[in-house]
Symmetry: C4
Subunit: 218 residues, 4 copies
Amino acid sequence: MRSRLHYRRESRGVEFERVIFFTDAVFAIALTLLVVEVGVPETVRGAADDPGALLEALGDKVPLLAAFFLGCFVIGSYWAAHHRFMATLDAVDRGFIGLTVVYLAFVALLPFPTGVLGEFSSNPISMVAFALNMAAVSSIEAVMLVHARRRDLLRDQLSDDVYSWVLRMELSPVALFLVSMPVAFVAPWLAVVVWSLSVPLQAIWNRRQPGTASQYLS
Amino acid sequence: MRSRLHYRRESRGVEFERVIFFTDAVFAIALTLLVVEVGVPETVRGAADDPGALLEALGDKVPLLAAFFLGCFVIGSYWAAHHRFMATLDAVDRGFIGLTVVYLAFVALLPFPTGVLGEFSSNPISMVAFALNMAAVSSIEAVMLVHARRRDLLRDQLSDDVYSWVLRMELSPVALFLVSMPVAFVAPWLAVVVWSLSVPLQAIWNRRQPGTASQYLS
Amino acid sequence: MRSRLHYRRESRGVEFERVIFFTDAVFAIALTLLVVEVGVPETVRGAADDPGALLEALGDKVPLLAAFFLGCFVIGSYWAAHHRFMATLDAVDRGFIGLTVVYLAFVALLPFPTGVLGEFSSNPISMVAFALNMAAVSSIEAVMLVHARRRDLLRDQLSDDVYSWVLRMELSPVALFLVSMPVAFVAPWLAVVVWSLSVPLQAIWNRRQPGTASQYLS
Amino acid sequence: MRSRLHYRRESRGVEFERVIFFTDAVFAIALTLLVVEVGVPETVRGAADDPGALLEALGDKVPLLAAFFLGCFVIGSYWAAHHRFMATLDAVDRGFIGLTVVYLAFVALLPFPTGVLGEFSSNPISMVAFALNMAAVSSIEAVMLVHARRRDLLRDQLSDDVYSWVLRMELSPVALFLVSMPVAFVAPWLAVVVWSLSVPLQAIWNRRQPGTASQYLS
């Protein structure tokens, strides 16, 4: 029996796309939830109109705002990396979807260590918690690449040298995050310095790319 | 009267797709909201820089983090099941959209029993509440399949033996959830054991699949 | 200067689609936020393992859970109505986008009166607040239809009798919401009865549809 | 080795589209989170059924509701501006994606100054915080246009006069926001008056548009 109102499918590509858009939704929510941790300062009755008092109350929010922007930077960077990676895929399979769910669990967790970092900004344990979560996200990214290559999901075949170059590029932040953990106990801010080494490291790595890597990257 | 700026529709497939993307958005938000229940430990003034104190405060979060990952696993599994199911559809109708809204209400509710489980992890009532919510989601999934077949929404006609095989696969977790409820009163952790039986059960079921099932699954 | 990495647009239909998907995202979040109002009961140390105590604590949540399901029903119904309406459009313009933003502001507000209703379930003012919000959403829906017809955004030309039939169908819930407000002061639950009259009213209205309406609806 | 279940990509346009849909998701969540700041009034046991008491409690929410609608208006306007801007693009590149992440960080922050404004509605510092956040969003918008033109991402080449006209249109709200900050110390409500000047300013600007601008706008 045909129902009167049928909305028909027009594309077989919906299943591929929803893996991407589901990921994007989790990233977008994790990014936007960060603002909830900042929190609106509470009204001190009587002082509600006093610019100095509010300025001071907002001043107390500076570490939380710093954590907010750090969280945006981290989540934004992971999203951009996922965007770049998915552009190289032509298909997903069951196993890839399973890996995506594990990956998203750790992305969805990010507001938690970010909040801890904002609240306990000079405690080495905050740095360790944050680094552990980021190391987990980066590691699963690398597993996704290994899986995609093994199951033939990539748009173009990757030569062995490009593959090992990309894989090492994905794993180098993991090494930095692990190194930063003992460093945090020397001085918490030193852990942030170790993390930020990923920027020059990435630049050096990009120079050493094999000649055939542009086929993967473009 | 034509307005100067018209953004035109290019595809009749938007109506089918938005049922899927609306579902994905609800799943993504339910998954990401789980982290809100974990909550950032509050600053104990004076002890803010003490690694031991923060480690202990994070240690208190272990049951909440366990509930977070259990919730991610459950929501991720349901999302993957919905992804697999929708891939077999070629159209949706009014009734299917109505069922989807009921289904999403119970998906959106999942953070509630997950939060209760994190807070009361050794209380049988938490297990019962969680099992009830999951049984509801799984049952509506089965109703959606029945509806899709009756209204001719499936991409391929399902033979009777494949249909009853798939339906029993959808309903077997419901049976486990119902069985787990009295078991929870013997020992709460035993309920989790009963739930995890769904993994070997699924594997056994997959072996017994009718020869023509691959047409439905691929 | 061409950058090496360009991700190109493939469809002119993205602008039409994002009006729909933006709407879906707001609906999905409003629906999923409803669960936050329910709230996890707080641990009473010592009684954490006591089934009776937790059952009682969950029992106190019944009005909040009822409000959650009412909210899901309302938001789900509005989403389904928006889905049905957009299926009749072939284009959107600037003005339509502006109306959509106003519409979404009132959709995003829905968790507020829903939460008030859960907290103050036997207070007539809760009913009035909820009815006012729903009347606003339904009224803007009607304005969107008027705009779409005037600016020639509809897929098919609507004959005058179908148009006035659809418009009256859109506006009849508004009338019910307005009537329910004074009724709420007689007895709050009577307001819910008035709202639920929309179901038989809709059925009667569907019977009286002009012969040419199926062209609009299918 | 080919896995049995492959979901294939059907369009190369997914990478362009996900930049847009990720943006839409952040906008939708920021808009919907605004309602969380409003907050449900707490039950005063005994007075739960008293219409007068609830009406008074809701009356206390008026500044928060005003901030909610102001926030919806601002976020909705920015979303509509982004919609209009993206319609002129035919591609995005790495740099544009990076700018989008910075842009979204400031969009995701908007619920924070909106909440402060609702809580401290007659404090000039609230006005300054809100104006600063909006000036940041508007400035990044202008940078995105400059980048898009330089990297040849626009659908049509922009003549120099249209380009400088559009750029000045994007930057005029920034000027208003900056002017409004000292004005807020004279009287907080005057800052709102300065912001609202953007409406007539926009109208005047539209009249002075170069003849070839319609090519950019349509």
